[in-house]
């Protein structure tokens, strides 16, 4: 056997390519795709459909796309596909809004500082997680706030939030809302399961009220109604209003997700903790919540992904998140008007949203596998 070089190579390789490899492939195809007449038909139909969609998209996005140009006329060609120079010309706007170019390093530094704290926190077996958590919860928000908005005494010119936009606004709204709504959601969930009516009923009222109205209405209320009640000289920043609205909204949803996890914990766990003499907070902190939260990771991440995408609703109160700023650029820059400009912009925005949401979903899948210590039948 070993004298036959072809055979030995095929055996050593994890995925054989020789004649036996071909056999394996045909066998796999036969078993999975062409096992019966019905399956064969479905396979061919599905393949044709996939080819039709993918080829059409590639045609538009790659083969017939326009890659260079300085204005819309370059894309104004019969049969032209995506207008990519529009994206590259507007990339800074899409990423940072109208944040002054010479101050962009502040945004980038904020991103770096966030990554420095977040990445080690998300990886297993990194020492000093206590310090990292303290940094993310106490130091980073303050630093980020002054970096982004500015601080005159430190030589950082103030950048009004009306100049923020694009991905920056999307990330700020999403991250701040997630950071606020997660603890708030847990507290609401615990409050709702409390035996004290004074704690229980307000929590129920809040959750049911907020879940009962659309986010658009919450934002509208924050943007349009609130100023009517406030004195004329007092204006709360629009971005802040949106942040509070979105955070409260998602807290109500998270509370219900967490409550699902709390209810799934067997009574025995509570009783065991009680038997050990643990106080309420210790019971929750050391026994119940770690198990409950682990159970509902998919639900929590689901909420976060939904929240991330819901940020695009801030457009209706005149804030420009990624989608909003793409829409604005598409509708208002006559220089770039061309038949494919709008479609290109939307495909780009969709792709950026997808990257973030897909990233979150992969991380949650990985987290679930890593934390799978039991409860698996």
């Amino acid at each position: 056997m070993a004298t036959n070089p072809v055979r030995s190579a095929a055996v050593n390789r994890p995925r054989p390519v020789g004649p036996s490899g071909l056999n394996a492939i045909t066998q796999w195809l036969h078993q999975n795709l062409f096992s019966s007449w019905g399956n064969t038909c479905l396979t061919l139909l599905g393949g044709a459909l996939a080819y039709w969609v993918i080829a059409g998209f590639l045609d538009w996005a790659v083969w017939h796309a326009v890659y260079t140009g300085t204005d819309g006329s370059a894309c104004d060609v019969v049969g032209a596909g995506a207008c990519w120079p529009f994206i590259s010309a507007k990339l800074q706007i899409f990423m940072y809004g109208r944040y002054p170019t010479e101050e962009l390093w502040r945004v980038n530094l904020t991103y770096v500082l966030a990554l420095v704290g977040l990445v080690p926190l998300m990886l297993p077996r990194v020492p000093g997680k206590i310090w990292l958590t303290a940094y993310m919860l106490l130091v980073f928000p303050v630093v980020a706030f002054f970096l982004l908005t500015g601080a005159e005494p430190l030589g950082l010119p103030v950048v009004p939030t009306s100049r923020w936009g694009g991905l920056l606004v999307t990330l700020v709204v999403a991250c701040v809302s997630i950071a606020i709504s997660f603890p708030l959601g847990i507290i609401l969930a615990l409050a709702r399961r409390s035996d004290l009516p004074l704690i229980k009923w307000p929590a129920i009222f809040f959750i049911e009220f907020v879940r009962g109205v659309p986010l658009v209405m919450v934002l509208f209320f924050a943007s349009v109604m609130l100023p009517l009640f406030l004195p004329e000289d007092l204006t709360i920043n629009k971005l802040l209003r949106a942040l509070i609205g979105v955070a409260l909204f998602s807290a109500a949803y998270l509370a219900e997700v967490v409550r699902g996890g709390l209810q799934a914990i067997p009574r025995g766990q509570y009783e065991a903790a009680e038997a050990l003499g643990l106080s309420y907070w210790k019971t929750m902190g050391f026994v119940i919540l770690p198990q409950a939260l682990k159970l509902v990771i998919p639900g929590i991440v689901n909420s976060f992904i939904a929240l991330f995408k819901d940020t695009s609703l801030v457009l209706i109160i005149g804030l420009f998140d990624l989608l909003g700023i793409v829409q604005q650029a598409v509708a208002s820059d006559a220089k770039w008007f061309s038949p494919q400009t709008a479609a290109t912009g939307y495909v780009f925005a969709g792709f950026v949203f997808w990257i973030f949401c897909f990233g979150m979903s992969r991380y949650s899948a990985w987290l679930e596998r890593r934390l799978a210590t039991g409860h698996r039948s």
Partner: protein
């Protein structure tokens, strides 16, 4: 933290006393704007030619220029404006609540808006209206020649009604091709499903640029409906209404008198009494509206006259290339007619 306390206090006060915006209107808008050092101006979230920020965040457009002109009249500086982008739904509440001082956001002047919202329209800075676009190859030069044509229109809008009225009153036949959404309607027209496409003219010019080969399409001269767009202020402060109204009128009068951004300095020496009154060399019209006497000079010098602004933003010098049409001065056959300054 201080802000937070103030917000909390204000919220409590608001809830307790149900503070209404009317109660907060003791000081005049002009005083508020002056002490704040900035004009708050509500504009479109992004409409080519009328109000949109460029890549550097500088707002540009016909509606935007009006706010810059007001700022120039008050502060001798066209840039002391904070532009507040507003959606169609929140624009009136933003004005009512005092979040903005003036709304300059392609808003149609109608009786219901003028009388029941506690608002006042200060003038008309753009006469919009429904028009028709056809393919140039069709060889049509007037809407009167559209008899028997098929016309693409968006469903459920006043556009559809105006179209029916126009063809009936002109005793012409037409075939209606209705679509639910605007993009579908545009695509259908572009694909040749109909001979003509109808909506507001300002929009037709913008759509024309997205069709590919813009020159293959022409916007016909006939306007079949009235959509007068203009700036709006809160009711209850006549001085502020006058400032906004006469800022627009000064821009129109300047064009009529031939005073523009480039010649305004030499025009200071003009013998024409109308020009002397406009530029504040005679009489004291500035004082009548609480401003310095060179208010109009500053507007023309820093922003330009109406014609300058029109050409730069929507007219011949812009990608939109909208013809003056109804927006020409009255002496050129248009509708723009400003009362004289005297």
């Amino acid at each position: 933290m201080k802000q937070l306390v103030r917000v909390a206090a204000a919220l409590t006060a608001g809830v307790l006393f149900c503070a209404t915006p009317a109660a907060a209107q003791q000081s005049s808008v002009l005083e508020t704007v002056k002490s704040r050092g900035q004009l708050f101006c509500g504009v479109n979230t992004g409409l080519a030619g009328f109000g949109a920020p460029d890549d550097k965040g500088n707002w540009k457009g016909l509606d935007v220029d009006l706010c810059r002109a007001i700022s120039a009249a008050i502060f001798k500086d066209p840039n002391k404006v904070k532009f507040v982008p507003l959606t169609a739904k929140e624009r009136f509440t933003a004005l009512q609540s005092g979040e903005i001082d003036v709304l300059s956001r392609n808003t149609t002047w109608t009786m219901s808006r003028d009388t029941s919202f506690g608002l006042s329209f200060a003038g008309i800075n753009y006469y919009d209206g429904q028009g028709f676009m056809v393919k140039r190859s069709l060889g049509v030069v007037s809407a009167k020649e559209l008899s028997g044509a098929s016309i693409c229109v968006q469903a459920g809008t006043t556009t559809e009604k105006n179209l029916a009225d126009y063809f009936r009153s002109n005793k012409m036949e037409y075939k209606l091709v209705v679509f639910e959404k605007l993009p579908e309607t545009i695509a259908a027209y572009n694909a040749g499903r109909c001979d003509s496409f109808t909506t507001d003219v300002s929009q037709l010019y913008a759509i024309r640029l997205t069709l590919g080969k813009a020159d293959d399409h022409v916007v016909l001269p006939e306007i079949i409906s009235k959509e007068p767009l203009g700036p709006v202020v809160r009711q209850g402060d006549p001085q502020w209404l006058n400032i906004v109204r006469w800022t627009l009128n000064a821009m129109l009068n300047a064009e009529e008198l031939g005073v523009n951004q480039s010649n305004v300095d030499s025009m200071l020496n003009s013998d024409n009494p109308s020009i002397r009154r406009l530029l504040g060399k005679e009489d004291t019209f500035g004082a009548a509206i609480g401003l310095d006497n060179d208010w109009a000079f500053q507007i023309i010098k820093l922003v330009g006259n109406y014609g300058d602004s029109f050409a730069r933003n929507v007219g011949a010098q812009s990608p939109l290339g909208i013809a003056r049409g109804q927006n020409a001065l009255w002496k050129d056959g248009g509708l723009q007619y400003a009362p004289p300054i005297r």
